[in-house]
Structures are given as structure tokens and as C-alpha cells.
Symmetry: none
Subunit: 163 residues, 2 copies
Amino acid sequence: MSTMANNASRFLTRNKEVVLYGVSLAALLLLLKWLEYRFMILDHAMDLYIGAVAFIFTVLGIWLALKLTKPKVQTVIVEKQVFVSNNSGFSINQQELERLNLSKRELEVLQLMADGLSNQEISARLFVSLNTIKTHSQKLFEKMEVKRRTQAIEMAKRLGIIR
Amino acid sequence: MSTMANNASRFLTRNKEVVLYGVSLAALLLLLKWLEYRFMILDHAMDLYIGAVAFIFTVLGIWLALKLTKPKVQTVIVEKQVFVSNNSGFSINQQELERLNLSKRELEVLQLMADGLSNQEISARLFVSLNTIKTHSQKLFEKMEVKRRTQAIEMAKRLGIIR
DNA sequence: TTCAAAATCACCCGAAAGTATGACCCCAAA
DNA sequence: TTTGGGGTCATACTTTCGGGTGATTTTGAA
């Protein structure tokens, strides 16, 4: 039951793009027709018209490509500060990171959590939905064996797996 | 030295693109002229011609966009080990503490928050009611000018007003 | 090519966190 | 003695968080 609703909503979400594109294309055709009639009044203005068409469709192509191309993955540079204590020599970090077996995305979410961002803000920052962040945080908590984000932050800072 | 060579090579690479683009554009214009003469022979084939132009330039636009956004951003995790003398655990920033004007109780709550405790757990630890903790945290957030406990923790650790 | 992990998104529900407001007590300073 | 800050607690409400579940798509490795 919920699967149907799920599919329907997803279908709508996808179609929004398609519908938008369709409408835009229709508008563009109207514009072209208008341009055509305008220029046809003039004499030997064909080249100008062709130029306009070429320009418009070049822009359209660029827009299309940019729209349909997936947003680039941001480069994540994690600078880890390894605090070296005088007495207790725990300069772990990488070992702990591997032990916890966190994925790249989960580590990103963890870092943003530690920066004090809400799930909503994290989702906006990473260009994904709120639900996705929830899923990430869940897996994060499971792997780190904690129950709250504050515990995750505390552990992460203590182990030095985030800055 | 290697930087110069690097820049030179990069410059050449870029210019190669520009030259390639120029040549392609020239070829494209020739193609268009040819198409124009071909179609002009026919009667009322304008739309077809315009369509061809539109298509070609749409493809051109897409190609341009894809070409110019080519560089694939790899996710690189840079591990920078910064050795810091361990004074963060000892010296508390007294000036910041006074500036924020936190009460004793509020500071206690803040510390326990940073330890990853829930409001419920904090209230149990301090032998007060949950509502009291909520009140404390509220005033805490006001004084620190934050909206969430995670932000308060982040700021407190950054300023060094808690361990 | 196939398979598993990762990443994405959805929906529901209960718990926790946070907001707003008001009240009472205590104590020290004006 | 009044006044104000700190501490306590309450009710009512909204928002966010987290758990559980299921699904599809992407991707990287075998």
C-alpha cells in the first residue's frame, strides 16, 4: 500500500522535471515563431534569425546538460588533528576510523553534526533529502554504538576521527 | 620549476581546446551554409532547416557544457596530522567564560551535554526535574546565542570553556 | 556481467529536544 | 525592605531526532 504511494510520489517528483522541460520547450517554440514573424518583415534578416535560433538552442543545450548532469561530488578534505598527550600515548585516529568502518558519506554527516548542524541543515548542505540524512545518522549510530548525536560527537572527538 | 612546466602544459591544454572549438565552429558554419543552400532549393523547407539548426546547436550546447564541466572532482581525504601540545584539557578560557556570563548550574549542564547525556540523564545526575534542565538549557542557548545543544557543545569546546 | 555495499528516499510513530510562559523560593545587595 | 538573579518546577505546545521498515538506484569490485 505504502509502496504505491511511494512510487506515485517518486513518479511525480521525476515528472516535475519532464513537465518543466515540456513547458519550457513549448514557450521556446512560441518565442521562435514570434521571432520568425518579426524578422520576416525585414528584408534579408534570415542570418540574424538563424543566429538567434542557434544562440537560443546553444543555451538550451547547455542548460539541458547542466540540468541533467549530476551535481559534482564535493571534495571532502578532512583534516585530522592528532592530539598527542604526554602520558597517555593514544595517537590512533586512522585505526579507529577503519575499525568503525564508516562510509565516506557517514563521515561527512558526522562532521557536520559535530559542527552543530541540524539534520535539516545537513540535508541542505549535501543536496539530499532529510530522510537520507536520517538513514545515514542511523547507520552511524549503529556503527559507533551510540544512541544520540551528542554521544557520537563526543566519541568522534575523543577518538580524533573528526576535526 | 615543475610549477612552470605544469602551468605551460596546462596553458597548452587549454589552448588546444580553444583552437579545437574554433575549428569546429568554422566547420559548423560551413555545414550550415551548405544546409542552407540545399534546403533553399526546396519550397517551404524553412522549418526543416530551422529544425536542423536548432538540433545542431542544442547538441553543440550540450557538448560544450559537458566539455567545460569535464574535470571530475575526486574525493580526497587529506590526513593532516597536527601535533598539538595538550593544554586544551587543562586551561579553561576564563575570559570567554566571564563574557558569556554563565551561571554555575548552566555550566554544569553544558558540560554534561557535551558528555553526550540526554536532558533526562542530566536531570537524574543533578537530582532535579527534567523541566529544570530544559530551563537551564534554554538560558544557556540564549546566552551563547545558539539554537541547539550541538551548537552549544561545538562553541564551548572551541572556546575552551569546558574540557 | 554479476553481486554487495553504499547511497538515496519514503512513511510512520514515539521519544527527546526546544519554545513560551508563569510561578515559587532563596539570598544577597542596594 | 525591596529588588533582582539564580535555581527550581510546571503546563502546553511545536519541532527535531531517532527507530523501524522497505524500496530503488548507483557504484565499485570480483
